[in-house]
Subunit: 428 residues, 2 copies
């Protein structure tokens, strides 16, 4: 991963240096949290990638549940319980699912309440006869998320009557001692633990993300090793070589200049769900006390033909992070002699080189319009690069929360609609 | 479709009345455009739904190309050339594709440049032996969109060597007289016409949307009839009974109060692509001359667990339109005696009633925080309601462009990156 910001971020160098320096105490704090280990502090999630016991427990559960017949991993969870897993699944597999009918296991994500989705899922499940074809992972930190519990209940009810040994094909992931934890124990359902202090939006390197990903066949040790490497840089480097420190400082400076929108403009459609993971990370971590930056996700080159006009010609209320990959997978070449002969300059060029030209063109257009941007270039869309990116962004958000002077780890206003919803349900 | 705004939109009634009145000349103009018919004016797209010749030509082409063996409709187009079609496909079918391996035809959308997607598509196409299993619809208004032409060239090249009669399985949709039009004629490929004055973001009711949708089996006459009905209300009603007039006036008033973000908060995940269609409609139509509102899409209840904290507790820089459906499809009930007994208040309730409680709870939370919102309630996710919604939003945007004093129908800044990209490609 390369991170660049020089000149294009349009932040005064002195201001940047001062902001970075202002974070040095907090940086020391993060170093202490890591040195101490464990899951007691607000920043507990930072200790996940180096937790060998965690990896071991997840690998053990994976060994117990994996099957050559496994076709569908059904992840029941919402928000922090599935966004990170979905981000990685879509990056590596999900985006291509409609073209790959024969690739398994596929993941199905049940998050919100949707009777149509459940009806379709029931039809699919009815076509299966071997319990080993499915694995259900229900994830709720608190153990009492309405959507998750309701979805689990209806799916479990449907399956229980058909497959007697279905309990073996279920795993719960939740806080130790939660109601869900106890219900798992009482019903012969295996349970994986999530440390109390690790919030959903920081939980991708906990059992929440690791178990379904390992079951899919993803090398979670590689994921963790790369996260540890990036964590080291983000926590220890005091300079502009530290992407988390720099990116947080730039976002903060831009926000003070009235740029209240942070657009992740991703030139790799398979990373759209990664953008959505970041939306939660930024939205919940710093959107409070009337403060915050609204995170948006744009996909290139598609959105150049959609909101590109607004970005280049509209109000200057955004700061942008361009995200793209250096190398694609297999190469595809436009014929040297095109069949229709409509555009000469594409003849004999690779599809990736066309994309690179579009990205370059877009960056030049942003510069002409004096629109600030940073750049993140991934070597490729790999487990290693994904881990690096996600760890970078989680530390970035801790620094940004500190700069905004908010509690980065709570989400008090989510209770507002929950309280109202609960009252309505109780009265109905 | 029901549209409501009273009280919750937090706009002064007198200001609203005045703004609506200021649009009466433009309303007369729209009436004249419809009375005159044809495709000469900037607002030409408004005449599409009542164009019987158009329906006939599309139905004729559909009759010629449809086949009981059809499995994949490959739509090659970007921005206005595919966003509307994808919105409707995903609403009715696409969102469930991963759970319905056996439902055909499926649509595959090729928009941006992506070698991985093309590699996967090639594998899929290699598994087919009958040309009637596929239909390729390449769509470009100008006939020279880089991404579209490049994608078409590589797919055509791959198929031509395998299937000799492949030209019969291709349809181009483009402006009369474009290079693509001529290339179609020269290569024995059928062509459907798009009127010159109909821009991509207003083209869903032209051959751009109608042909692939008709091929899929969607009743395009029902689509058009319902669009005509909504058009009548949006163009003729001078009062608060006119959703397009009211919604545009409220968005304009909110924007003057510093609310530079319009969030479509959609409590129906299958409508996410519809939100993306609206992003282009709003982004390109009014995002210019330094003016504009940034359109965002949130999905309920998922995003309550993501950006909900930001929306309820962060800066008050947004105006929201809640979109949801009155009735789902099949009903699914949580067991009266739940298996885990975690949340008593969900027992015996339907999944849809839980969703309604969450929506109601969210609205109350917005009101407590004094956050402005409008509401659009669709009877169900049907062809009729989708047509009604899309026609409403296209007329809304014409009114909003007039209020902003911009040219609603151009997109001059898109040329900025295109010019740079072209230069890079020519030099490489």
């Amino acid at each position: 991963m390369q991170f660049t910001f020089q000149k294009t971020s349009r932040v005064d160098e002195q201001e940047l240096t001062k902001t970075i320096e202002s974070l040095s105490d907090y940086q020391s704090h993060l170093q202490e949290v890591i040195a101490k280990g464990g899951y007691d502090s607000d920043e507990a999630s930072i200790n996940l990638p180096s937790d060998n016991e965690l990896i071991e427990s997840v690998m053990q559960m994976t060994g117990k549940k994996k099957s050559p017949n496994l076709k569908y991993i059904i992840v029941i969870g919402i928000g922090g319980s599935n966004l990170g897993t979905k981000a990685i699944y879509d990056a590596l597999y999900g985006y291509y699912d409609v073209m790959r009918n024969d690739r398994f296991p596929k993941m199905i994500f049940l998050d919100t309440q949707d009777a149509d989705v459940l009806s379709n899922l029931f039809s699919l499940l009815s076509s299966l006869s071997d319990p080993n074809e499915i694995l259900i992972n229900a994830i709720s930190k608190s153990g009492s998320t309405t959507e998750t519990v309701a979805n689990f209940e209806v799916v479990f009810d449907m399956l229980k009557s058909r497959l007697s040994s279905i309990a073996d094909r279920i795993v719960f992931t939740t806080n130790v001692g939660s109601k869900l934890h106890k219900a798992g124990n009482n019903n012969g359902i295996d349970v994986l633990n999530l440390p109390e202090k690790v919030g959903g939006r920081y939980s991708i390197f906990s059992a929440v993300g690791l178990f379904p990903l390992a079951l899919l066949g993803i090398d979670i040790e590689e994921l963790m090793t790369n996260a540890v490497n990036m964590r080291y840089i983000c926590v220890n480097s005091p300079s502009v070589e530290n992407p988390a420190l720099v990116s947080a400082s730039i976002l903060f400076a831009q926000s003070k200049q009235g740029k209240n929108i942070h657009d992740n403009f991703i030139f790799a459609p398979q990373l759209e769900s990664m953008g959505k993971w970041y939306r939660q990370l930024m939205g919940e971590s710093i959107g409070k006390d009337g403060k915050g930056i609204t995170p948006t996700v744009s996909i290139g080159s598609t959105d150049l033909h959609s909101v590109g006009q607004l970005y280049l010609g509209g109000p200057k209320d955004k700061t942008t992070t361009f995200i793209y990959t250096q190398h694609g997978g297999k190469e595809v070449i436009v014929p040297q002699q095109t069949h229709l002969g409509l555009i000469e300059m594409i003849q004999g060029k690779s599809i990736s080189s066309l994309m690179r030209a579009i990205i370059q063109g877009t960056k030049l257009a942003y510069e002409k319009q004096e629109l600030p941007y940073m750049e993140i270039v991934l070597e490729s869309i790999s487990v290693a690069e994904i881990a690096t990116f996600m760890q970078f962004k989680m530390v970035e958000m801790m620094y940004l929360g500190k700069l905004f002077g908010v509690n980065t780890f709570d989400q008090p206003h989510v209770e507002l609609y929950k309280t109202e919803t609960k009252r309505i349900l109780e009265e109905s």
